[in-house]
């Protein structure tokens, strides 16, 4: 290997000379980018856990802290059920919650395109204010940059967050065990379809509203009820399928789910059928999957159902010792098949 000009790019130029949209799609190419470029470059124990956020102590006496960041580049800026502001709060709050942490503080960085109506920015800021208040977090620091017209899409927002871990459980993919039950806190795919419907000008009998919400309080309730939670993952880019594949891969276990147990709302299902999408791959912003010890599964579902954000919680499957790293799903007609990691963006099909 030639190190005279620094180490070679770990993603050979022959593979992808340019970054594709799919590198940010949350599927296999995103994972490849992380595994081959970012992980080796920034290598450290907290990063290696490959969780939604890093969990660490600052000195021996400190409690465990969780730290996470996410950027929001959504178009359109406003959509049924939310906007880029509320999403920027919910997303990072949820990333911290997935570490089992109580979210405390957020930062907010704005990259604003020249010409954005001031009123639009104000609406976004107000929405962030409300979302932060509801989630029990404070936005304590921030940054503002403005880029030339045409160099941004209205506004991009980055938020980072710090939370505190107030329990002794190790909530990581590596804690997942065969036999664990998989529980989702509600119907999947609504956020992605709400966005698609606005973008494509699709109209349905009812408006499909995004599921965007902060789920930290619900997670805290699970932990307070002493549910044996082994791992948590929010179902954002790449949807349920990607979340399950990531955990199966990191934990070295198999995952088996049943299609008929996965809650999907009728209108979302209909939109997916029309657009040629599989709801398993459609993003959510207020949904997560909990991997819970089998004896606590029913109790965990009951706790979720007692919370407004878990009213439709469902046990969708179990963790298996066989087929490690692979997610299998029993189809509606009773035959099992793979649920693969998505390989690129989900593209609308031809006919």
């Amino acid at each position: 290997m030639d190190f005279t000009n620094g180490p070679a790019c770990p993603i050979p130029i022959s593979d992808y000379p340019n970054v594709l949209l799919a590198h940010g799609g949350g599927g296999r190419l995103t994972n490849q980018l992380i595994a081959r470029m970012f992980l080796p470059a920034f290598d450290n124990p907290a990063l290696q856990a490959q969780h939604d956020g890093a969990v660490f102590r600052v000195g021996d006496a400190s409690p465990q802290l969780a730290f996470s960041t996410d950027s929001y580049v959504i178009h359109p800026l406003f959509f049924p059920g939310g906007d880029i502001g509320s999403l920027a709060v919910h997303g990072t709050v949820n990333d911290l919650a997935m570490c089992g942490a109580r979210p405390l503080y957020l930062s907010a960085g704005y990259i604003i395109e020249e010409g954005l109506p001031m009123d639009t920015l104000w609406r976004i800021v107000q929405s962030m204010q409300a979302a932060a208040r509801n989630a029990g977090v404070q936005i304590v620091t921030g940054d503002t940059k403005v880029v030339d017209r045409g160099k941004g899409d209205g506004v991009f927002i980055n938020t980072a967050g710090v939370g505190i871990v107030e329990h002794e459980r190790r909530i990581t993919p590596q804690s997942v065990r065969p036999g664990d039950a998989l529980i989702v806190n509600g119907d999947i795919g609504r956020h992605g379809i709400a966005i698609m419907a606005v973008r494509e000008g699709l109209e349905f009998e009812t408006t499909i509203e995004s599921d965007s919400a902060a789920v930290a309080e619900l997670v805290m309730q699970l932990l307070a009820e002493n549910i044996e939670v082994h791992s948590l993952r929010d179902l954002t880019r790449g949807g349920l399928a990607s979340a399950l594949n990531e955990i199966a891969g990191s934990a070295g276990v198999g995952v088996a789910i049943e299609e008929r147990r996965v809650p999907v709302r009728d209108d979302v299902h209909a939109a997916c059928e029309m657009l040629g999408f599989d709801p398993l791959y459609v993003a959510c912003e207020g949904r997560f999957v909990a991997f819970v010890a089998p004896q606590d599964a029913e109790r965990a579902r009951a706790v979720m159902r007692g919370h407004p954000l878990g009213a439709d919680a469902a046990i969708i499957g179990t963790v298996k010792a066989d087929h490690p790293g692979v997610v299998m799903m029993k189809s509606r007609i009773g035959v099992s098949r793979i649920v693969d990691m998505i390989s690129g963006e989900q593209l609308p099909r031809i006919c």
Binding site: D15, N18, D266, A270, H323, R332, I333, L347, R349, I350
Partner: protein, 364 residues
């Protein structure tokens, strides 16, 4: 969900599978034409419900898969030009040309856009009079009416900056090519329900007679496909060779006449090369002379020539039902959805992609 869940019922599926098993006295090979059906079969595991004697082989009905590599190269070249907005159904973007795909053109700055309808592309042309808007008109008889309509409307409304890159193919000539091949193993067909929605099924009647092969017009849900297989096996067992319609809730014998009229107005039958298979006479559509101005191949001066395909890809054999994806030595190793050797590994209707997505691990 109404009109979908009824056709995905596990008990009814088991009943149909049982009825097919009862009917079957010897092995039969049946081809489903449409890639949408292939995906439903593999995704729901319909073939695993069938008795061992019934083999489903996967047909050429994936428009993305059969679009010749030369046309992908032309699309790539046009899309990379300044001043062009290149519009396509999403599926075409990842299909590898000789050097690159349309997604890479987009990443390098080309204005490549996914549209849901050619009429959206036409609207883009009207909204961007200084740009050339090109729509990649691929597909079978299913997409032809809307593609024809976009050209018809463009002409009527005097839009001069719109053109289509045509790669239209027709199902019956492809079925005939398969049936007349020496390698043919197909004894019965499930015809593509959506194609027949447009065209009806009178065109298939001479084929059924000439080749003594049962053809069942079939839908796309699990119970549709099981019923289609049932009807096909019953014909085979009884020695009949007729065209039957399983998909009666959608398909009429005469098809959709206005859709056929707009196709006939704008397009004419032409020879067409099929990727992996070769040229099939009278198997495609090209623009009629009065609409030649909307032909992107004529509008853009592009050097064209025959292109050597990777010898490793056996997509032609797969699309003619001679081999199955897992019989390809490159399957899942040198050929994956991220690094495809051929189009069937890319398209959401491609047989290889279906096997890769749903079948890499044996479940039994």
């Amino acid at each position: 969900m109404k009109y979908v869940d009824e056709y995905r019922d596990a008990d009814a599926a088991a009943k149909y599978a049982g009825a097919i098993a009862k009917l079957t006295t010897r092995p039969w090979t049946i081809m489903e034409i449409c890639g949408g059906q292939t995906h439903a079969i593999v995704k729901f595991g319909i073939d695993e419900l069938l008795p061992a004697g019934i083999t489903l082989v996967h047909g050429p009905g994936c428009p993305v898969c059969v679009t010749p590599i030369e046309l992908i190269d032309k699309a790539v070249e046009i899309a990379a030009r300044p001043g062009v907005i290149f519009c396509s159904f999403g599926d075409m973007l990842r299909v590898p040309g000789t050097r690159q795909d349309l997604l890479s053109v987009k990443a390098q700055g080309g204005d490549v856009r996914i549209v849901y309808s050619p009429l959206d592309a036409l609207r883009l042309a009207q909204a961007n009079p200084a740009k050339e808007v090109v729509f990649f008109a691929v597909g079978f008889e299913t997409t032809a009416p809307a593609n024809a309509m976009s050209v018809y409307q463009a002409q009527r409304s005097g839009v001069t900056n719109y053109s289509i890159l045509v790669s239209h193919v027709l199902v019956p000539p492809a079925m005939e090519a398969i049936l007349s091949s020496e390698q043919n193993q197909v004894q019965g067909f499930l015809a593509a329900g959506h194609v027949c929605t447009v065209m009806g099924y009178t065109e298939y009647e001479p084929l059924a007679v000439r080749y003594h092969v049962p053809i069942v017009v079939t839908g796309f849900e699990p119970l549709d496909i099981l019923q289609g297989v049932y009807m096909c096996v019953r014909q085979l067992e009884e020695g009949r060779a007729e065209v039957e319609n399983q998909y009666t809730r959608v398909v009429k014998r005469e098809g959709n006449r206005p859709a056929q009229q707009i196709i006939a107005e704008v397009f004419e039958i032409s020879p067409r090369k099929w990727r992996g298979i070769g040229e099939i006479p009278r198997s495609g559509l090209g623009l009629r002379a009065p609409y030649a101005a909307f032909d992107a191949e004529k509008r853009f001066d592009i050097a064209s020539g025959a292109v050597e395909e990777s010898g490793e890809c056996i997509s032609g054999l797969i699309m003619q039902g001679v081999k199955k994806p897992e019989q390809c030595p490159a399957f899942g190793t040198r050929c994956t959805p991220e690094r495809p050797l051929g189009a069937p590994m890319v398209s959401s209707e491609g047989a290889c992609a279906a096997y890769y997505r749903y079948r890499r691990v044996t479940t039994k």
